[in-house]
């Protein structure tokens, strides 16, 4: 089916890509009109990223044809893709932090493209104004916020006057206000005839700006639909197959006594690109989930590290658990008195990549798997397979190496392991990041169950919808400051969004939070 002289800008015909042990793309066909904003939807592992990498020439397909403006093309490398007019904004940005914005953009241009542009910094400022991107060409990338970096990536594509812009989960790192700005840019581009391929798993965004949506599941195209004619629920159904309970709305609880407290916690970051924590105060109560929202890189990592003890510096009285001061304790001691911890980085921090799931389950155990100094391997194995079954972890068995699991599956295992400690205080970052809808539901329910048993849970997440769903009280971090805490019922997405952007800083609110 090779239609020549077609009106489509891009056509994919039966694209197939197989990785060892996994068919990432199974005969995928897709077409895009000029100016069309096309959503690519699917759960993690559905094959979205592989597909767009194929289009951008990072991955070469085993089978199938790509047609560009009706002509068959072979896109062997990203530079060929760029020459055709395909630009891509990656999920994990491909910027060079120690170079300036202008240098970053220059690297992406071919000699020919570069010679067509007389004054690159000037051209960047010009485009920046035209599209409302607000990008300063002379700044170093490491000094930019995540949102600004994304705009640099988009600018990279604009400078090359792309005909097809691919965005891989562009909104996952933005505040709601930044998302609105991004959508304006995309709409303008679309009007000018640029096609946009938009990967997301946030359904309301798709219904917001996309003309068409293709839903992938297990590497196959399940359906192509017009989002405006669907509801988020109906699209979600297509994504997960069986109907998932979407946003059931869980009951909110009020906590009882304070079990964990941070008082005037200030700390300079150890990393050159880190964020300094500034006078953080909060109380975490038994039987509640406290959600902390914020755009990545605003102090979440530093806060997690100091609470878990991983940071290693003594903050003395700034942290207490019950009546105990824990500021001087190392992570092991904190775990002994009932703290559990799920870090953002699963491989390497949450689990040892080369160890089996059984061994990883043992790492943070508190269940008496050791008798007379010997490990009771049989019971550890049983515990590990219990976790695998309970959280539907996809793997070969409890003997699988942690690194052989996909991110979402490993996350389920780690969450299960930590919840299984029956902790008094659970600190967890991005509990369902990259986890499919079904498993996210299981994790949500496990968290709520743990809360109802009287545990105090600190939930740090960039997914604002999830926070609203789970948290009993909420706050936001921005630039190392923590906003006031507020009951979830008493706030809304706008206010939290404002807080994520830092509007609470240097206002009376900060004073209030201190009091």
């Amino acid at each position: 089916m090779k239609t020549h002289n077609s009106i489509f800008r891009l056509e994919l015909d039966n694209i197939t890509k197989e990785y060892p042990g996994c068919l990432a793309n199974d005969s995928i066909s897709l077409s895009l009109m000029p100016g069309e904003i096309h959503a690519l939807l699917g759960e993690n592992g559905a094959g979205k990223s592989t597909l767009v990498k194929t289009i951008y020439g990072v991955v070469s397909p085993d089978q199938g044809d790509i047609l560009w403006n009706g002509k068959e093309v072979s896109i062997k490398s990203p530079s060929i893709a760029r020459d055709l007019g395909i630009g891509m904004v990656f999920q994990h940005f491909s910027l060079f932090e120690t170079l300036t914005v202008s240098e970053n953009i220059e690297l992406c241009l071919s000699q020919k493209q570069l010679s067509d542009i007389e004054d690159l910094p000037h051209r960047i400022s010009q485009l920046s104004e035209e599209y409302g991107l607000d990008v300063d060409p002379s700044r170093y990338v490491h000094s930019l916020s995540i949102g600004e970096r994304q705009r640099v990536e988009i600018m990279r594509c604009l400078v090359q006057s792309v005909k097809l812009l691919i965005l891989d989960e562009p909104t996952s790192v933005l505040t709601p206000q930044e998302v609105a700005g991004l959508f304006n840019v995309l709409r303008t581009l679309s009007k000018e005839g640029c096609s946009i391929l938009f990967i997301s798993h946030k359904l309301h965004e798709v219904t917001d700006i996309c003309h068409k949506a293709t839903i992938l599941r297990g590497g196959k195209v399940i359906e192509t639909c017009i989002p405006t004619e669907e509801t988020p629920a109906s699209i979600a159904k297509m994504m997960v197959g069986d109907l998932a309970e979407q946003d059931a709305g869980y009951s909110k609880k009020e906590g009882t006594e304070t079990v964990f407290k941070a008082t005037n916690l200030s700390l300079t970051s150890k990393h050159p690109f880190g964020t300094t924590l500034k006078d953080i105060n909060f109380e975490l109560k038994a039987g509640e989930i406290l959600g902390i929202a914020g755009v990545a890189g605003n102090g979440q990592d530093e806060l997690m590290a100091i609470i878990s003890g991983e940071d290693g510096r003594n903050v003395k009285r700034a942290l207490t658990m019950g009546r105990l001061e824990i500021g001087h304790m190392h992570p092991g001691e904190r775990r002994k008195i009932g703290m559990a911890y799920v870090p953002e980085e699963r491989l390497g921090r949450g689990a040892v990549p080369e160890m089996s799931l059984t061994e990883n389950a043992l790492l943070t155990h508190s269940k008496g798997f050791i008798k007379n100094g010997l490990v009771q391997w049989q019971s550890v194995k049983e515990y590990a397979s219990e976790l695998i079954n309970k959280y539907k972890v996809k793997c070969h068995g409890e003997f699988s190496e942690a690194k052989s699991l996909s991110g979402g599956n490993l996350q389920k295992f780690i969450m299960g392991r930590e919840i299984g400690q029956s902790p008094k205080v659970l600190i967890c970052a991005h509990p369902t990041w990259g986890v499919d809808v079904g498993a996210a539901l299981a994790i949500h329910q496990a968290l709520l169950e743990l809360r109802d048993q009287g545990a105090a849970i600190l939930l740090i997440s960039e997914d604002i919808d999830e926070l609203f769903l789970l948290a009993d009280r909420m706050a936001a971090v921005c630039d190392g400051y923590l906003s006031p805490l507020i009951k979830t019922e008493d706030t809304n997405i706008d206010q939290i969004g404002q807080w994520m952007a830092g509007t609470f800083i240097n206002t009376a609110d900060v004073q209030e939070a201190k009091a």
């Binding site: 990785y19 592989t50 020439g57 990072v58 991955v59 490398s77 990203p78 530079s79 760029r82 990656f90 940005f93 491909s94 910027l95 060079f96 932090e97 120690t98 170079l99 240098e103 220059e106 690297l107 992406c108 000699q111 490491h142 150890k270 990393h271 050159p272």
Partner: protein, 310 residues
Amino acid sequence: MDADLIVQILFAAIKTGTPLLFIALGEVICEKSGILNLGQEGMMLMGAVVGFLAAYGSGNMGFGVLAAMAMGAFMSLLFAVLVLHVGANQVATGLALTIFGTGLSAFVGADFVGKTLQGFQPIPLPLLSDIPYLGRVLFSHDILVYFSFVMTIALIYVVNKTRIGLTLKAVGENPHAANAIGIKVLRVRYLAVMFGGAMAGLSGAYMSLVYTPMWVEGMTAGRGWIALALVVFASWRVGRIMLGAYLFGLASIMHLVLQGLGWSISPNLLAMLPYVATVIVMVIIGADHFKEKLLAPRSLGKPFDPRNMA
């Protein structure tokens, strides 16, 4: 201390610093691409012995220099194939290269120990060398010293002002991102490593053809290691490498100067100066973790295999 003595000291510092400058310039380019080559000492020794043999055999000093550079590049090519292609550990492979080079150079040069050469002669540059003081410090050297001046300026320009420099920095900072935008990461790294090797060979040739025009086993005396420290000392900036090299050169000749002034300190203690200076510099820089991270190529020492890109 009179002005003449100071001029002589500075002249000697530049001469002593020149081999360090050559090898450190090579290493900084190599490290900027993200590859840490600890084989410097081995490549330098091989460069020294091959340079000496070639010059001794042919009677042509220029040929000796070229042979030394080719030898250094060849040694680094071995390293590059193992590290970039086979995926061997950079630190272990680099150390192996040093041990290999030390042994092989001693073996190859065994019959030539004690033989001497005429060596490169100083060529005072017309006009420039007539500048009072400065002329004698900077412009009364041999041709290789002038070449090192040109090389430093050229590299400052290439690294900071050209697309080549930009590509090099990009590869060293984030090879995955560089690959994603279509830069041929391995090719850049091969070239950077081989440039480093050629410069190490040249540095060795300077030792055996100019500094002390003869071959003695282990004659580089740890300069390859000092060069590695020098790169960190200069925080990966080409211009600062030149400054650092001359400072180390000065530290190396200090014991001669102090003895000349009649200080009664054991010459063995004074000969330790450059090495002590190296340790101190490393400690000072290591203490400022913050800065070190910001300046170092971020992927330094980490392997990159484009075949593993999912």
